[in-house]
């Protein structure tokens, strides 16, 4: 088991290096750098000398390979430098946004798990009955309808129902406070985007649970369990569920990592200042330092999530644990 974990940790290093390499060089393929955009982006004339001065200040005039090594050293020493656009430290810019995105990602993933596993299981047990059709329609609707639309529905729904029940409309708070400062206020703001995205991302996991469960229910060992006279609920919970969770864990892991940087539109609808918005802004302004840092953060989340998924695998399946 410890060897397994150690192997997984060592495997993270080449992945991170590859990601750093790709993001660094791909970013620089986009024409125009942050200095050109800032000084001449609005169509005004800019003095080439001034642009050069700016590039020199940010180190953009140095050979690519030197810049790349600076970037690598920055990653290893956890010194990501300053944003090229605002000039503020990257850690400062990311700070609260990372916290907020992480919290939403965790809450949305939990929502998604609580929707996907029970519904997928029921749908498989009741295959081809009306229950199965209802669950499948519900989860297809989750994929088909964009989450910002749920967002709008939820916000309108809260306004309308609080209006009719309490006489005056109630709005979730608009400004973010960390959960340890005011948990109630924090949750009453973030629960809604978490529900909207959690529902949306539960769809794939629900279908995955259903198909994995259907497959497992046809296995010989399920027949053995039935032949022992066990209760159906024991057969499902003890014999089938653990076997069918392997592919579901993978899907949920990938979704969690995606939620960390990919909630651009949902953040807009709920007026949240998360990583997604920062990501888009930094790409738009060719802020290499910020974009690179953000990509590396998301990659690290991906790698770490995959690591957790691998650990879960080993926990679920003794054949991996003892291999």
């Amino acid at each position: 088991m410890y060897n397994y974990i150690l192997k997984r940790i060592l495997l993270m290093i080449p992945t991170l290096f590859g990601a750093a390499f790709l993001v660094f060089f791909l970013l620089r393929l986009i024409p125009g750098d942050v200095c050109e955009l800032r000084l001449a982006g609005t169509g005004l004339y800019a003095d080439p000398a001034e642009i050069e001065l700016c590039q020199e200040k940010l180190g953009l005039n140095q050979p690519m390979i030197v810049q790349f090594f600076d970037f690598l050293i920055g990653i290893v020493t956890f010194d990501l430098g300053e944003s090229m656009w605002t000039g503020k430290p990257i850690f400062y810019e990311m700070g609260l946004r990372f916290e907020l995105s992480l919290q939403i990602a965790i809450m949305a993933t939990i929502t998604s798990i609580f929707i996907a596993i029970p519904l997928g299981t029921i749908s498989a047990i009741k295959q081809d009955t009306w229950i199965d059709y209802v669950v499948r329609t519900f989860s297809i609707a989750g994929i088909a309808i964009p989450s910002f639309w749920y967002g709008i529905l939820i916000v309108l729904g809260i306004l309308i129902f609080t209006q009719s029940w309490f006489g005056e409309p109630w709005m979730p708070p608009l400004d973010y406070v960390p959960i340890w400062v005011d948990p109630w206020r924090n949750l009453s703001q973030l629960i809604w985007p978490a529900l909207a995205t959690g529902y949306r991302y539960s769809a794939v996991a629900t279908r995955m649970t259903r198909s994995a469960m259907l497959e497992v229910l046809r296995e010989d060992y399920i027949r053995t369990a039935r032949a022992k006279g066990l209760l159906e609920k024991v057969i499902i919970n003890r014999h089938a569920l653990k076997n069918s969770l392997l592919p579901v864990v993978t899907v949920i892991g990938i979704e969690f990592a995606f939620l960390m940087g990919g909630l651009v539109v949902t953040e807009q609808v709920f007026n949240l200042n998360g990583l997604g918005k920062l990501f888009v802004d930094s790409v738009m302004s060719s802020d290499y330092a910020m974009t690179q840092a953000l990509v590396m953060v998301v990659v690290m989340v991906f790698v770490f999530t995959n690591f957790l998924v691998d650990i879960m695998y080993a926990w679920l399946d003794p054949r991996i644990r003892y291999a």
Binding site: R223, T224, A227, K228, N243, L316, D317, P318
Partner: protein, 329 residues
Amino acid sequence: MAKLLEIQDLQTLFYTSAGTVKAVDEISYDVEEGETVAIVGESGCGKSVSALSILRLIANPPGEITGGKINFMGQDLLQLSDREIREIRGRDISMIFQEPMTSLNPVLTIGVQLTEAMEFHLGIDTEEAENRAVKWLEMVGISEPRRRLKQYPHHFSGGMRQRVMIAMALCCEPKLIIADEPTTALDVTIQAQILELMKDLSSRLGVALIVITHNLGVVARYADRVNVMYAGKIIESGTAHDIYHKPSHPYTLGLLHSVPRLDQPRKERLKPIDGQPPDLTKLDNGCSFRPRCSFLIDKCENHYPALEQVASGHITACWEREKLIQEHR
């Protein structure tokens, strides 16, 4: 001896897109207490389905038990509620399956899989169930059983897993064990060990056995009575001695000729049965074996032969049984 199980006119159908498959077509046989009964036939003749039907383990859909009676200790298993049949499964009648590699749950320890049925059926606590599990593992010849309880199926070889399956089948001390091709997936040397173990334990504990097999060697050695199945029907039934030495159906004869005999000098080459088993969705009123039969007469085209007695306790379904018996004795 008293009758333990009486199967009467059992019929199991599968509704598939290709048509209705008569997997088991009105078969009847008895099992007496402590007796070993073999069901023999080619792949796809309905022998496994007939076994699974006894405990109502046929997946519905696509399968359905559409008729007959299965009397076991004074009650018709087909009339029981889901709860009542669950109390029979694993308690009074247990099963051993063909594939020991896939019949045990890969993510649960042997201990859990052994004790859960005892806890459920016998109402004993985990500790007591584990003690009994250790005893049963010892009895099926697994060394260091206490340590083995914490291991997973992938730690065991095929033969060892089948021993665990046997321990699982025995652990609630059932009256009847149905073994569905228990040795097909094992090496030949292991096959003999497993059969010996089953025979030994069943006679020691007085458990009746239904052994489903296509291996006539198994039949000769271990069974008291033999039912030969073809295309969903029993076509011959008798003692192992009758079937082996006085076969009275062309199909049984064909089966015997297609098995290597070690107890007789090798005079001739093996003779396989020509042709393929029939499509079970397209059976007509005639004898289902007639396309492959060398005793074919006109009557076989339109009339399925009834099971008739050829000797005491020996029945066969063939119009030409007299001719066959004369030619082959």
